[in-house]
Amino acid sequence: MSDYKTISATQIADDVREGRGSAVDFTSKALKLAATEGRELNAFITLCEEKALRQAAAIDQMSPELRAKLPLAGVPIALKDNISYTDYPMTCGSHILDGYIPPFDATVVTRLIEAGAVIIGKTNMDEFAMGSSNENSYFGPVKNPVDRSRAPGGSSGGSAAVVAQGIVPLSLGSETGGSVRQPAAFCGLFGLKPTYGAVSRFGLTAFASSTDQISPFARSAEDLALLYRVVAGWDENDSTSVAYDHPDYASVLELDRKLKIGLPKEYFAEGIDADVAATIDRARQALESAGHTISDVSLPLTNKAIPTYYVIASAEASANLARFDGVRYGLRESNDRSLEAMYSDTRESGFGPEVKRRIMLGTYALSSGYYDAYYNKASQVRELMRQEFEQSFKSVDLLLSPTSPTPAFKLGEKIDDPLAMYLSDVYTAPASLAGVPAISIPYGESSDGLPIGVQCIAASFGESLLFQIANHLVPRA
């Protein structure tokens, strides 16, 4: 059975719009792959077969004039299971949401459906998006399609695996500190972390509200740009979303000028894998020989990004996850005891170890006597980091770095060492804290055949430049 490794989302939408292909056929194929290969990878938590086939049939029956207006006509897509979609359970990879079915659609879901995309399933993820390997899911780890003994990355591991396996051409994940870029690098995909505020988060389960962004995966820069254009934009239901005049990114993919690109020297410090360093060097040479100027830059606070991120993200998570208390939805334990016992027992049995660890860390950092030393300090360092980025974008158009210090690690390799796991976000957390957009571009392989990702970071709302550099480094076959 052929899969979606060879046909792009752009091509599918063209075929469906022109009547050369049927949305039902494309959808049925994706559902079949999801039930077989998707199950082997443990990549889906829920398949949305009935609604998907109904949506697809409606697209096929539409008048050609209406169908011609759909940018994602008949394109099968998967959603990370922390994005609300009515009629199917949403688990967030957790036990505590047992039986929860969202009573409303996320804004990105509404936009996808209006664009003609067909949602075929909800993907596996680290519980509440906390993790870098997808091993923190209540539903078990996802396998990396490139090497099934390895982690697909996290927390959007399922959304990365389903695109890498060719089950769907596109998916949405979410980013807080690297949860789309790192799995994109581990699975050999393109992944974008948009500018903070570019995509509405209405219907996304909150983890760390000051960095959370819904973020797309694709197999080419063109497909990534197509999907991003559909989901980006202001939304009255998310007061952090920004009104911005987004161009038609997919139609302006040609890089028409020579760029100044900075290599932040702090991103090449200890701990970087030799194959990863060599890959960045290759990208650097390719860009130089294409006439772009590469210079060394310095972002001295880079090595403070992980401690800053883990204070801020855990503090915000401890507040955001207070809503899971057994009262309004999901699991409830100890109903026959006191109210406080019901809360504490529900949360004890509903949350997994990593979620508890972050709640504990965040609660401690916000508690009386420690707030200034941790949360306030981290917020001040964060502001200095934001200024460092702002300063560097006065002299360069883009920053070039690895996405992850290593290619995909083995399942089980880091799960017992929380700090080692946190350090795998070392190159992705800075852009998240600064709110600027960043892309991971698949650029070659390690000596044992594992994908390696190159990261480009731009100033706020520089997504167009990110798609262009991605398309320039890896042109569509």
Partner: protein, 95 residues
Amino acid sequence: MPLSTDQVRHVARLARLHLSDDEVARFARELTVILDYIDELQQVPTEGGEPAEQFITARNVFREDIVKASLPKQAVLSLAPASDDNYFHVPRVLG
């Protein structure tokens, strides 16, 4: 400085987590390692610096105060582990 098991129990109570004794011991160990690492932040001079808060959308967001339909009451109440037509039910709080 190592986190004591008493401190861990205090934080767990604040977070409404009923941790087992094993978890208390494990978190005391793990959080000590993580907090030691986080203490690197103290090396950054930030005297008098502004904290980063809402830096990108640092503006007020106003809208007209117009009544709009919300989710149907039944759709929301029916998701709860215990409810009736009008209320969420929780264990008794008073006497």
